[in-house]
């Protein structure tokens, strides 16, 4: 009657049979992409406008206006306008932590592109289509680096298709807008904990990958010319929620005892792209000089946390606080056209990061930045022009950390250090109009 030992041991020792609990605790901190963060919103949506500090909500220059403010299409002089271009985006980040003598870096190249076409249907109505990639970058730290529990690498792509119409209400006022269709993909990898390895000592990690993520949004705006050579612009872009559904979640290098429960599965996650308002003005000082100013506000506060849920019930939902704040961008640009062959442009902007102190995660290691831009157009003939541009983004080095990693029930684990970014992007494009 007193043969208790087996049951006793099973209970008292370690309750290891409750392996599910173990699983939930070790994976509780899994996260996915937050790469739709403002820090990665490197603005590269047109060679001419980029060269002018990426101003453009009140600039009527080329078909690039489809992105900046589709209302401006109706003010384009030519009947047909097309602009295509691409950039080589070089983003480099270095990280170090003096307390632990850690160093790491990530170096990536992206190739955002854009194509804009507008057509004047009648004197008062223009229609067009825009295709652009406002998120075309990536972060790729060394696998198993010191912040690998937050991110090893992330790559996301999003292509925007935006059919647009513009109506000239009067010679001085136009409105315009259109729906936006987004097709995106994300791949993200991180280690499942700060210490779990397989039997060979390789850190266990998880990749989540979703392709063909679709979403709809819209844009609308107006342009007003209150007096000659002075243009005001307003543009609104709606919030777009990228709903990744049934993406693949793949575990790698799991220890054998976790393999039974951590089977590969699918995941769901929502990534909000915030609503944005841009207001701005442009003024033609004379036939040769134009200046422009844009103010942009992105309503990032919608990005409170990134929540990833998994189809496999053994893999618990992961909640990752992001707590972004609304962020502003201030842009200045100028254009000098000495003759019909050449146009020279320069600009500057200040880009406020939506990331708050203590939420500085290495998947978007971006603080406030200042952009310096320049470029020129060479008009091969009256119809065809070549645009070149460059962007140099300056970041001060910053000491910051992500303080909300959860490990064994403690949700205040911090990872941080000193980060320094350099972003540079040369670009080239063609403009054709008649």
């Amino acid at each position: 009657m007193l043969i208790l030992i087996n049951e006793f041991l099973k209970e008292k020792l370690t309750q290891i049979i409750k392996m599910r609990k173990l699983l939930s605790l070790t994976i509780a901190a899994l996260t996915a992409s937050s790469a739709f963060a403002g820090g990665y919103r490197v603005a590269l949506q047109g060679q001419k406008q980029l060269a002018m500090g990426h101003t453009g909500v009140a600039v009527v220059n080329s078909a690039e206006v489809l992105f900046f403010n589709p209302a401006g299409m109706a003010f384009l002089e030519d009947r047909f306008n097309a602009s295509v271009g691409a950039n080589a985006l070089f983003a480099r980040t270095k990280f170090q932590n003096e307390t632990y003598n850690w160093s790491a870096s990530t170096e990536n190249m992206g190739t955002p592109f854009n194509a804009y076409i507008s057509y004047k249907v009648t004197d008062w109505l223009s229609a067009g289509i825009a295709v652009y990639t406002p998120y075309g970058s990536a972060v790729d730290w060394d696998q198993d680096w010191h912040g690998s529990h937050l991110v090893n690498n992330i790559d996301l792509k999003a292509v925007y298709f935006q059919p647009s119409v513009s109506i000239k209400l009067s010679d001085r006022l136009s409105i315009g807008g259109g729906p936006i269709y987004v097709n995106g993909a994300v791949e993200f990898n991180r280690n499942i904990s700060r210490s779990i390895t397989n039997e060979e000592g390789q850190r266990a990690d998880l990749t989540i990958e979703a392709t063909g993520v679709n979403a709809w949004g819209w844009t609308a705006g107006f342009m007003l010319e209150p007096f000659d050579d002075f243009m005001l612009g307003f543009n609104y872009r709606s919030e777009i929620t990228m709903e990744a559904r049934d993406g693949d979640a793949t575990f790698n290098d799991l220890p054998a005892f976790l393999q039974a429960n951590y089977t590969n599965t699918t995941f769901n996650a929502d990534l909000p792209l915030p609503a944005e308002v841009t207001v701005g003005m442009s003024y033609k000082l004379n036939d040769k000089w134009m200046v422009a100013f844009d103010y942009n506000r992105a309503y990032w506060n919608v990005y409170e946390s990134l929540t990833v849920s998994f189809a496999n019930p053994a893999v618990p939902t992961s909640v990752n606080p992001r707590n972004y704040k609304d962020a502003s961008t201030y842009r200045l640009g100028t254009q000098f056209k000495p003759n019909d062959k050449f146009a020279f442009r320069a600009g500057w902007y200040f880009d406020e990061s939506p990331v708050q102190d203590g939420y500085f995660a290495p998947e978007t290691p971006r603080n406030d930045s200042m952009g310096f831009t320049g470029g020129l157009t060479y008009q091969i003939n009256s119809k065809l022009g070549v645009d070149v541009s460059f962007l140099y983004l300056h970041f001060d080095e910053v000491d910051n950390s992500y303080d909300h990693y959860t490990e064994d029930g403690n949700d205040g684990i911090t990872f941080g250090g000193t980060y320094k970014n350099v972003v540079f992007s040369p670009g080239v494009g063609l403009t054709y109009s008649f």
Binding site: L2, I5, Q96, Y100, E407
Partner: protein, 523 residues
Amino acid sequence: MKNKFIYLSALAVVFASCEPEFDNELSNSTYSSGEADFSSYVAVGNSLTAGVMDGTVSRVGQSYSFPNLLAQQFAVAGGGEFTQPPFDSDVNNYGGLILGGTVIQPTRLIIDASAGGPENIAGMPTVDVSNQFATAYNNMGVPGAKSFHLLAQGYGSLQGVPLGLANPYFARHATSPTATVLGDAMMKNPTFFTNWIGNNDVLAFATSGGTGVNQAGNLDPSTYGSNDITDPNVFGSVYSQITTTLMSGGAKGVVATIPDVTAIPYFTTVPYNPLTPELIGGGDAAVGAATIEALNAQLYGPISQALAAFGQPGRISLMSTSGNSPLLITDETLTDMSAQITGALTQAGVPAAQAQFLGAVFGQARQATADDLVLLPTRSVIGTAPDGAPAPINAFGISYPLQDEHILIPSESAMVAEATATFNAIIKQVAAANEIAVADMNAIMNQLVTGLRVEDGQIYTADYFSTSAINTVLFSLDGIHPNARGYAVVTNEIIKVINEFYDAKLPLISAANYPGATVLPSN
């Protein structure tokens, strides 16, 4: 036109080579050794210095020894090469030792998920003690060594190992059969040392359940048993001699104090009152309650009444049919009531032989209290049958008292606490007299009891392995030695002491990235 493109491409190349740069790029010059010189670092001590975890030195476990982790941090501040006794022959990373084809030290402990507890990993150790290296290493931690062993000639004699006169770990690498641990350490001409010795001078007594003798007053350590407490004067003179010898070449160093047993999971994991109806009923509380009622009626009740009748009430109370009940234990400090119990039971009609047996078994029995420390291995003893005990008096802790070697009773704990305090006072005194740093491991381990918050915000405790702490547990499965993560915490505490005391600037390590227990689906 063409020129412009060349110009632009050149520009692109210039910018493409733009590297981010820090104002103060980390390099070796970021760090410094201060007043210390790490060019030849030597560690002396016991299993904690050797890197024992999960009950043994293993090839991988040794790489996480705190001296090895420390030496890696010294590397940026003038640290030299750091060598450890070779464990390449532990090809399977099983740990353990063999001698003459016999296992003399079992393999390392792992968690077998299918069985539900720590076990020695299945397999044969491959480290043969008779394979001798006769070499001095920077890590001179010898598992099992007490303070006076570091000065003992013959402690590394292979011939002495089977006789229990020498240490198998030291025998592997002693430079000669008569070499001393300290003498071999000095062959490395230390410029910096750590010395964490003395634990076994008191803990061996504690881990044995207090079966040894407190040798206070006996100045001849050669007469001590392995589970005895060392005399404080012996400890003091040995400790001074080790320290002055290590410093004889001008070396500086760190000495570490001895943790109290109350901060070690070996003594704190198993509760004194784990017996519940669910447990006793094998998961079925109703069955358990019925069993408990039978035990109360047939065993606890009669013995309790007999004890009360003879003026010893309170030793044993009835078990609870709903909550937790304490374990039955033997306390050799109690008055032996064997004859009285036998007499009372005989009078009550119990057959003579049975009354005799119960009297003998329960003469010094009582139920455990919160002041008793149940040793970790006792967990697997509770409920098992003692040799020759007849049913139903055949379940350790439940119907048959646990023995001296299973429990540390308060009088034994008091001896341990007193010796620990005395030894630690000596360590601090010797360190102060020689102007070297102290890493107060006792204070640090005591902090773990309530929770030690480290730089990254994680709070570590002195708890034993559990599934809810798989990323944060610091102790290995033997309940005494840290795991890799725990050694990293130890290393950090020593680094902080060095940084402060010697005005050095060494980088910390992140304990979070170091592994815990090995968990296998089956064994």
